[in-house]
Subunit: 358 residues, 2 copies
């Protein structure tokens, strides 16, 4: 399979020393190789290649530096106990990448080629997939507009690149509830904007609020809608769920919320377990009311990096709300154990989510 | 003055052939030199230097590619008929750059050094300032986050770069009214977001709406507020003004509108001429009502590229509104003539806006 792809391969002659597997961090170390493919209006996507990890050289007028025409994805490769290497739902990443591309006026990537590139790159750098509980190989596909023109128009030239980073467990001690600041001043995105696209500007827009929350001792911010500052959107770089009186609620996708793959997988698992799950507009007021009346049982974020991240406390306009006594809830823990169990091949994969890299 | 700055200079040994001054375009050709300065958390801004125009080499994990932490500015240098070279209000650009930096969690640039860098670079490449009516040298300062780390946090490393491009008159035939599509679906920015910052993501967010408007024969889009889609924000990459019954109105700065330097200069000139000018919330409905009742006398955009761009027609939800019979209005023309007159040194500069490069 892999040998039949049109991807040219140039192997490094100077492999790097691998980092200490107990001190990996997130996105700090990068593997020996990267994937690159070019786009021009005339040739389309072409020159798919794997090369030694190396700097990118761009004209200073390249549009990515000025107008932010760029999208990215994030997924992980896991090493199972019996030595297999598997990816979690890579098809979902490439479908979303192309939805992001469409919103940002970037030409679509052939999805099969993208998945093949991830597989082949993972295969070549498979020695970089760390052992150890919770360790994995984080894979970052991204597209940048490279045409050196200052007119505000979609670029006619792009690069699609994949880099990979061995990463540690998000919570080295196991999952641990975080404190979240409900952001009422700054806004990440709004309906009609680009909140649903995985594009750079959404992340830059969130930095200032995140810094302010960190200074007050909160790990992340909970974003509210841009129009009324009433409705819950997402948490930092995760989607968010609340369990109230036995039912799990999450904000419905509305165009300004990221369509998270761990979010989607969480909903499928909850349904599989016959736990009621509802996607709808959720106000922060009703979450607080449920909390005050003792009906808010759990809250958690979902995302590729942390998988499931329990929320132990919210702070909304100075009112603190402790959730489940600040401890990890039962459903949060079950989701974490099952999702990571499937990802590391420790348990059955009822939805055929995992894709083996051979 | 210039010789006393700490800017290191490496001159090119291989000057480029200059482009045909009648076919310059906008941001297509770049001069022989560029300015670069680096930032690290430890050293602050350092190593200010002018070097031959050359590619930028960055790690593929550099934060600018993934999280869009970047800001830019745009200003112009003009050659006067008596051979002097002058800049239009560069202090305003560097003040705004630092407001953008603050919003995007980027450390401030020393404003005096920034202005000195623009002057020195313009001086070195002054042969690139084109002659000819409406021609000028467009100057693009920008900051990019360069730290190679995938964590979503502000970068600890940046580059501040200035590149320059000889540009033609925006309207080679003189100013000419444009058709504008009032955008009711897509949103550029909202209060609480980053609309006031001159940052890449705002421009990427506008591409799709602009493409759709272009396909329908409109030059730019008029952005409405993100919350209600009722209130006027700005036009494409310009601020916008409307003359109704003798008074000129423009949307008040609200945090989601760019604080344009040509906007500010236009307001000052109107006041200088005793033409009433009002900055307030403006609904698209009231503009249409004024148009239907014959009281809408003129509409125009303001920006560095076009200076003054008359609007001859709006299209809002299918209803077309022709303004001033589709012709350039008297005040629009007077503003254009006076602003360009000051910029090219053809007339008195009552506000001491121009800064000579010696």
């Amino acid at each position: 399979m892999i040998a039949a792809t049109p991807i040219q391969i140039e192997r490094t002659t100077n492999p790097k020393v691998k980092p200490d597997q107990d001190k990996l961090g997130f996105g700090v170390h990068f593997t020996d190789h990267m994937f690159i493919m070019n786009y021009t209006s005339e040739e389309g996507w072409h020159q798919a290649r794997i090369v030694p990890y190396q700097p990118i050289t761009l004209d200073p007028a390249a549009k990515v530096f000025h107008y932010g025409q760029t999208v990215f994805e994030g997924l992980k490769a896991y090493r199972t106990e019996d030595g297999r290497v598997q990816l979690f739902r890579p098809d979902m990443n490439f479908k979303r990448l192309n939805r992001s591309n469409d919103r940002m006026s970037i030409p679509p990537i052939p999805e099969e080629l993208g998945i093949e590139a991830v597989k082949e790159l993972t295969n070549i750098d498979q020695d970089w997939i760390p052992d150890g509980a919770g360790n994995s190989l984080y894979i970052r596909p991204f597209v940048i507009a490279t045409e050196p023109l200052l007119g505000v128009h979609p670029s006619h030239e792009y690069q699609f690149i994949i880099i990979m980073s061995p990463v540690g467990a998000y919570y080295p001690e196991g999952i641990n509830p975080v404190k979240i600041f409900v952001e009422s001043r700054y806004v990440r995105a709004m309906v009609g904007g680009v909140g649903e696209a995985k594009t750079a500007g959404n992340y830059a827009a969130g930095l200032k609020a995140q810094e302010a929350a960190n200074e007050q001792g909160y790990t992340q911010v909970l974003w509210l809608d841009g129009a009324e500052h009433k409705y819950i959107e997402e948490v930092g770089s995760m989607n968010v769920f609340f369990k109230i009186d036995g039912t799990v609620y999450t904000p419905a996708l509305n165009g300004s919320i990221l369509d998270g793959i761990t979010r989607n997988s969480t909903i499928q698992l909850l349904k599989h377990w016959n736990i009621p799950v509802v996607e709808r507009v959720l106000s922060v007021e009703e979450i607080y009311e449920a909390g005050r009346s003792g009906k808010l049982e759990e809250a958690f974020g979902t995302g590729t990096a942390a998988v499931i991240s329990p929320v132990g406390e919210l702070n909304w306009l100075g009112e603190k709300l402790v959730i489940n006594g600040g401890a990890t809830g039962e459903v949060s823990e079950k989701l974490y154990n099952n999702l990571t169990g499937i990802q590391y091949g420790k348990q059955e994969d009822p939805f055929s989510w995992m894709v083996e890299v051979k």
